[in-house]
Amino acid sequence: MIRFEAMVNGEQLIAEIEPHEALTEVLRRCGLYGTKRGCESGDCGTCAVLVDGTLVASCTLLAVQANGHEITTIEGLARGREPSAVQQAYIDTGAVQCGFCTPGMVMATHALLSRNPDPTEADARQALAGHLCRCTGYIKPIDAVMAAAALVRAEKEAAGE
């Protein structure tokens, strides 16, 4: 067993882990079920989280590799009971159907907007390229990214940033 210590959603998470355990498994064992277990081979994107601010598939990353790093999961985006601007945009545009791929898409949108607050539709498509969805046909998630960008910009403007 190895001691896992990382800042997860701003709080220190300590767990005993096996070296072979994927980060997805350890997060879920610690109650963070928002990170979904999908293809387990890096293809579908539903397990995406941020490690040190970078989008990664937590199924192709061992928890030991993430030891000591800063991790953000879907649970870390909301502001208390209030959804983040990105989450709100997914609700407003109806980009959620069964919802299984949504956490990964939301994380990807978050990662895109933190680097590029004014994305084009092509940027949005690229950002979601690694996220498979069987319900939405991808139209509404693209709308959600564009709506999220507008919301984030409006929030920043309102805050005088």
Binding site: I2, E18, P19, H20, A22, E40, S41, G42, D43, G45, A48, T54, L55, V56, A57, C59, T60, L61, L62, V64, Q65, A108, A111, Q126, A127, A129, G130
Partner: protein, 280 residues
Amino acid sequence: MYLDLEDYKRPATVEQCIDLLGGKGSSAIAGGTYLNVRDHERVARLVDLQALPLRGIERVGDAVKVGALVTLSELVDAAGELGPGLGALVEAARGERNLCTRNRSTVGGRLGRRRGDARVATALAALDAKLELLAADGTRTHVGVTEYLTAAAAPHLVLGVSLRADTRASRYASFAPTVMESPVADAALAIAADGTWRLASGGHGPHGRGVVVLAKASALAGDAHADDWRARFDAAALDELPSFADDRGSAEYRRDLSVTLAARLVAAASNGATPSGGAR
């Protein structure tokens, strides 16, 4: 699934790393985007490279050095710094469209798999890159990409890649049925400072022989405006290309696709550069 994994180490120096890799069942791990999915069943010890000083892209004299831990995303972000001379490498990295994978995949990991579909390997072969390797006995050597890929299984650690900073231009092209797949075939072209053209072709198998430098076709690349050029170019390239078939394409299809990709790169570059010779 890892069946035998018992030990994980994160060495801080390459010397410690090489020592740890010497043990039975030891394997280096960089991004983990390949090893954590495949070919890990018998790994007993993982030696994580993340703490090693193998990051960054820097100009050293006439060379641009790319550390083994540089990710594909970092290559894309460094497009401005790398310039049009090393554009093929950036385009090859951009070819990985899945951002989670692009963000974690390292140059060393792409090379370390020693396969023909690694994209950056094709670009690096055209750019005549030299890999800096560290052997188990601590000796450092510099070898070409195809030499590394085709060597008998080597317990070498790739420390980084060295490229000519004065490369005049380079381009990369690939084809895959969907943007999320690895290339069925790809090609890269580089024009060195002295005007020599160098073409490489990839996708020819899940092994190191899947990337080849097309020396004869490169020698003809400068004639692209001649009437019979395409026929001569195709014949030369076909003569040098391997025959590899899989469920995504017959050998004939893949060879034809490879020649087309290479010819398109030459045609596009011919408009902007003055060639003066063949492959080095």
